[in-house]
């Protein structure tokens, strides 16, 4: 069940919208932020709020890169594998991250902190090789910089801003 406050916020947003379906992605992002990922339960709740069928919402959820239909870690690392990052060392960045965290792309660390996902060009080609962690860009990446970022994330919770 959604907490009362989140439910009321979403209901108010939807009531104000001329076309509620316009908010489909916003609703999914809000639910995802609450549950950590878009669980089946969250998907059904979102669909109900918007007057859509769960299947219609599933069609959207599975289309988008930043909607997670499976559990993810507290920090989702989107490593850019666009051509500029590829040219500037994507493979070693990805290799180093996987080695440091002991997981493969698409997996989550046992402590539930980190998930690594390869991602289409994120638009930070001037900071290449680059990655996003919970929406925040980092680059140009080196082994030292990655160590520093991971250590910081392990010790202090940064502001998480994926939805409004």
């Amino acid at each position: 069940m959604l907490p009362k406050q989140l439910l009321e916020t979403l209901q108010a947003q939807i009531a104000n919208a001329e076309h509620p379906r316009e908010l489909a992605v916003d609703v999914m992002l809000s639910l995802q932020q609450h549950y950590g990922y878009l669980s089946d339960e969250a998907l059904e709740e979102g669909a109900r709020l918007l007057g859509m069928t769960p299947l219609e919402m599933e069609e959207l959820a599975t289309f988008y890169d930043f909607i997670y239909r499976e559990p993810v870690g507290k920090f989702v690392i989107h490593v850019c594998d666009g051509v500029v990052c590829w040219m500037n060392g994507y493979e070693s960045v990805m290799g180093y991250l996987c080695k440091k965290l002991g997981i493969e792309p698409g997996e989550t660390t046992k402590d539930g902190l980190f998930t690594i996902l390869p991602t289409a060009c994120i638009g930070y080609c001037d900071l290449s090789p680059a990655m996003l962690i919970n929406g925040r860009p980092h680059g140009p990446l080196t082994a030292e910089k990655i160590d520093h970022i991971l250590n910081r994330l392990r010790t202090e919770p940064p502001p998480v801003r994926m939805a409004r």
Partner: protein, 422 residues
């Protein structure tokens, strides 16, 4: 240093405030337009200025607005795309972090030109900071009377909202973007009726690239002739936000005259090639343009001139490759991107792109055969039968690899390995 119009308020590490924008003449064009010009006159100024759409196709913005006929219904919409999933492109991000009110004013003027009542800014997830900036600055613009009912005491009412995307390349395609906003799976739509007649919620909808819109206030304020004079070549006008990335010393986004030579952009503004690296080729306008042979290193970077050398200006995002970078590997990476980003709706795109990927993968990994080359060409041809421009764009690096860098492909096949890997 060339005149800075769009980046005139650019500051290191800070966004220009509404006051700074106003001090530089911001929102004057809006006040003038609402007092003195009819929507038709605003359209005409932009047509006369030859403002070509900056999203890649170069279609004149004024003509797009004119396609919204008087008898088309209301409400009408303006959508601006800050999605730019095109690899190598990051100008919209830099612009929103430079002077957001310039975008807002441009969008209001576009709204006035077609009598729209709502504008929508479509933002990708990796640009969440742009979305946050927009929401904050839209509120400020609303409080200042530039948005909302009866703007600056006129009869014109207009507002802008931010639409967050879930993130997918195909959302940059106009009709797919409309589907995305409507909460439908963002497939492109083929329709005999243009979006300017029946778009968002079946109402007239104009889609303009953000960079197109930021030019509008300046065109309205200073006139068509001034705007044309900014460009270096006759057939183009205005300045352009060129993004430079890859093996250069200073990757970044630079505002330079339209039609400036590629060599000047890379050598002067991109800081030249990295030490020990030589220019091999570049993609002049993002991933769905063609590798540019070195003999065109001096090409004038505007829509017509780049077209004349058989290429596309696209988004003006210049991705620079050096002599040590394997172009078969680069093309494989690009095709991987397009395979993953294909919406999968139509057969030529869904089937041909993975086929091409497989052939390139084999060539790169020492399993290439001569007969793959005609197969690559044939498969690339098939994509022209696809539903939207995505797949033909995806094959541009492939065909230009075969046209201009066949030696490299042949070396892979004859040596049974990638010659760039030790």
């Amino acid at each position: 240093m060339y005149p800075q119009v769009l980046f005139q308020n650019r500051k290191p590490n800070r966004i220009a405030t509404i006051d700074e924008y106003r001090q530089s003449g911001g929102y004057e064009a809006l006040a003038t337009a609402l007092q003195k010009y009819s929507p038709k006159e605003v359209q005409q100024i932009v047509v006369d200025a030859n403002l070509q759409g900056r999203g890649g196709a170069g279609f004149p913005a004024g003509l797009k607005w004119k396609a919204v006929a008087d008898d088309f219904p209301f409400p009408r919409y303006i959508i601006s795309n800050i999605d730019e999933y095109e690899p190598g492109t990051f100008k919209d991000r830099v612009m929103t972090h430079t002077d957001p009110h310039m975008i807002i004013e441009g969008m209001i003027l576009a709204g006035y030109a077609v009598l729209a009542s709502q504008g929508m800014v479509f933002v990708r997830p990796s640009y969440e900071s742009s979305a946050v900036i927009f929401e904050r600055e839209l509120k400020i613009a609303r409080e200042a009377g530039y948005l909302g009912k009866n703007i600056l005491g006129s009869n014109f009412s207009f507002d802008i909202v931010v639409h967050r995307s879930g993130g997918r390349y195909i959302c940059g395609e106009g009709t797919a973007q409309i589907n995305a906003i409507q909460g439908k799976r963002p497939y492109p739509v083929q329709s005999p009726v243009r979006s300017t007649e029946k778009g968002l919620w079946d109402k007239p909808t104009v889609l303009n690239n953000m960079e197109t819109l930021v030019n509008v206030p300046h065109v309205v304020r200073h006139g068509a002739e001034w705007f044309k004079g900014l460009a270096k070549t006759k057939s183009s006008s205005g300045t352009k936000l060129y993004c430079v990335s890859g093996k250069v010393n200073r990757p970044g986004c630079f505002e330079l005259p339209m039609g400036i030579r590629l060599s000047e952009i890379i050598d002067e503004y991109g800081g030249g090639m990295l030490p020990g690296h030589q220019f091999k080729t570049c993609l002049p306008g993002g991933a769905s343009t063609l590798y540019l042979p070195k003999k065109y290193y001096d090409v004038e970077m505007d829509f017509d001139s780049v077209k004349k050398v058989g290429n596309r200006l696209g988004t003006g995002a210049i991705i620079v490759f050096d002599q040590k970078t394997c172009l078969v590997g680069a093309t494989l990476n690009l095709i991987e991107f397009f395979v993953r980003e294909s919406c999968g709706w139509c057969t030529p795109c869904r089937e041909a792109l993975p086929f091409i990927r497989d052939l390139l993968w084999r060539i790169e990994n020492g399993e290439g055969q001569e007969e793959f080359i005609p197969m690559l060409r044939r498969m690339s041809q098939h994509t022209w039968k696809s539903y939207c421009a995505f797949a033909p764009g995806a094959t541009m690096p492939v065909t230009s690899l075969l046209d201009h860098f066949m030696d490299e492909v042949q070396e892979h096949i004859s040596q049974k390995k990638c010659p760039f890997k030790g």
